[in-house]
């Protein structure tokens, strides 16, 4: 699968922009704050129906404009697919594929798999469990429609349950019956999510180990373990036992929204013991393993968006990485960087078709094709 053309209207700092893409490597070069990352984010948006940074659409639309539009043309096994997003923040959000409007945005997710590697990724290792849950959800949602549906259902019921617990406290009364109803509604989607996360984590651990060994050349054993209270006891029992605690804390204290994906290096917690170099390699390995999982499950190559990759790796390592990616006939790659010299040097050694764009203050111009 690859993107052939991208058209943006009022997306972030772009008034109007058209990008013709190379099926292999596409580079966006320019100074900081010119809009390189925004181009990657537009591709991400077209695939995932939202911005990679997690901001709301109010912050995605160009300052002063009231709508934005993304048109993306894809090629999948010789067939062309046209995806259009038309968004008026706070009013309407429409996604179309080949002129057909989706009833639910979630129906679009997974049709055009994508992986983005960005400087902020280190938080996957350094921050709390929420970031790693989001990583699991992001990957599994692209692979499995039933997972995404279960997750949406679970989160809605969870919100209602938490709101009910708050209401009990405000009104100084307690309705155990209502809480039991919410528990019953959480069990089916919650159990399905836990089962799928567990199965995924098993395979993912192996893939992660392989990728880590390739890119770091190190001999450490990296492992990922799915941590959840649901591993030991069924959700129904956990929820029932937590009733008193939930009542006091006014929120739901057990469930799949508390899970974690624990990462270890030689059996020791990464967060505490890994060196800076190991951290960088691990973060990259996590994302490339995600890519590999998507490739296996979807049977096509996801788009790979590399934002500011030189932040993580030096020039030689980037070249190695790209060689590795191209050898394994990775799909289409999008790269941003500030240093044109550096990128040109690497590209000249690779002998791969590419498009090189200069990005300046919300305008991208094609500078070189090969």
């Amino acid at each position: 699968m690859h993107l052939t053309q991208l058209k943006l209207t009022n997306f972030k700092n772009y008034v109007w922009q058209e990008i013709a893409c190379s099926p292999q490597i596409n580079c966006f070069l320019g100074l900081n704050g010119m809009g390189k990352t925004n181009l990657l984010d537009a591709v991400y948006y077209a695939c995932m129906t939202r911005s990679h940074t997690g901001v709301t659409d109010v912050h995605v639309v160009r300052h002063g404009a009231d709508f934005f539009r993304i048109e993306a043309h894809f090629q999948i096994e010789g067939k062309s697919e046209k995806v259009v997003a038309k968004v008026i923040p706070r009013k309407s959000k429409v996604f179309e594929c080949n002129e057909l409007v989706y009833n639910k945005l979630s129906d679009h997710i997974g049709a055009f798999p994508v992986v983005m590697i960005a400087p902020g990724d280190t938080e996957m290792v350094t921050d709390g469990s929420e970031v790693r849950r989001r990583f699991l959800d992001n990957t599994l949602s692209q692979i499995d429609r039933s997972y995404l549906n279960a997750l949406l259902l679970y989160n809605k019921v969870l919100q209602q349950r938490n709101a009910a617990l708050k209401q009990f406290a405000e009104q100084r009364q307690f309705n155990a019956g209502l809480l039991e109803v919410y528990n019953a509604q959480l069990i089916a989607p919650g159990t399905l999510i836990a089962d799928k996360r567990r199965a995924f984590a098993d395979t993912f651990g192996e893939v992660l180990q392989q990728v880590y060994a390739t890119i770091s050349g190190g001999h450490e054993v990296v492992d990922s373990q799915y941590e959840s209270k649901l591993n030991d006891r069924p959700l129904a029992a956990l929820l029932a036992e937590a009733t008193e605690k939930d009542r006091l804390l006014q929120r739901t204290t057990v469930g799949i929204h508390r899970d974690d994906l624990a990462l270890t290096l030689d059996g020791r917690s990464v967060k505490q013991f890994a060196s800076q170099g190991q951290l960088k390699s691990l973060v990259l390995a996590l994302k490339l393993a995600q890519y590999e999982m998507l490739r296996r499950e979807k049977n096509m190559r996801p788009l790979l968006l590399l934002d500011d990759i030189f932040d993580k790796l030096d020039k030689n390592r980037v070249q190695q990485l790209l060689e590795l990616l191209l050898q394994q006939s990775f799909g289409q790659i999008f790269i941003t960087d500030t240093d044109e010299q550096r990128v040109r040097e690497i590209l000249s050694k690779l002998d791969t078709p590419f498009h090189l764009y200069h990005v300046e203050a919300g305008v991208a111009t094609l500078a070189h094709t090969a």
Binding site: N103, L153, K156, V157, Q159, Q160, R161, A163, A164, K166, Q167, Q171, Q173, N175, G177, L178, E180, V181, Y182, A184, Q185
Partner: protein, 211 residues
């Protein structure tokens, strides 16, 4: 909009305060009333005031009513052993329009949604339990919207009613009449396959009233 008359302006504003009516439609309605005989406009205004002053909620089913007991609850020909539970009065009207139902109703006045600040205590649930307690009711039909909150409400009610000798059913969910399978969404089609019904001879044929 500029008005030569303060009276017209006030009337326009009154109409425009109604849902779905903008300034221009409001003006059109007001100018129409200006051309009507005074008497007729008085009747119009009086109908509204009288409605607002005298309308009440049925003390049994909470439907809108002119009298303490609504016409449906008071009708001796209706089946008192079946009660259809709905969210709002509009749902009563929708089901009445089908002319397929001869039982009674119970209007909840909303749906359980703590996010919107609506808990079970804000709905007409206790009166439903009391009605069932009286023992005449054999079946409760839950005709609540098929949403997550709807499921919560049905589940909650069925728990409240589980100690009584009453059958609880829900309206069927599935493919729309006159619809095409190809265009039904996965969830609906999936549910209709799982909750399929035995075929009864001739059941699938359209009745005369549908043509």
């Amino acid at each position: 909009m500029n008005f030569s008359s303060k009276l017209i302006e006030e009337a326009v504003q009154a109409f425009a305060s109604l849902p779905g009516i903008g300034k221009k439609t409001a003006l059109r309605l007001v100018l129409h009333l200006v051309n009507q005989p005074t008497e007729q406009v008085e009747q119009f205004a009086e109908a509204l005031t009288r409605m607002r002053q005298r309308i009440q909620f049925c003390e049994t089913c909470h439907n809108l009513s002119d009298t303490p007991l609504c016409t449906i609850c008071a009708n001796p020909h209706r089946d008192r052993s079946v009660v259809c539970v709905v969210e709002s009065i509009r749902d009563v009207m929708a089901i009445e329009d089908t002319a397929q139902y001869r039982g009674l109703y119970h209007v909840l006045g909303g749906i359980i949604s703590p996010i919107e600040g609506i808990g079970p205590g804000d709905l007409n649930i206790d009166t439903l339990v009391q009605r069932v307690q009286q023992g005449e009711i054999r079946e409760i039909i839950m005709a609540v919207n098929p949403t997550i909150e709807g499921d919560t409400t049905i589940f909650y009610l069925s728990k409240k009613l589980k100690d009584f000798d009453v059958k609880v059913s829900t309206i069927a969910r599935g493919v729309a009449f006159g619809g095409e399978l190809e265009y039904a969404d996965e969830l609906t089609l999936g549910r209709s396959i799982v909750a399929r019904v035995p075929y009864q001879t001739g059941e699938g044929l359209r009745g005369r009233e549908e043509f």
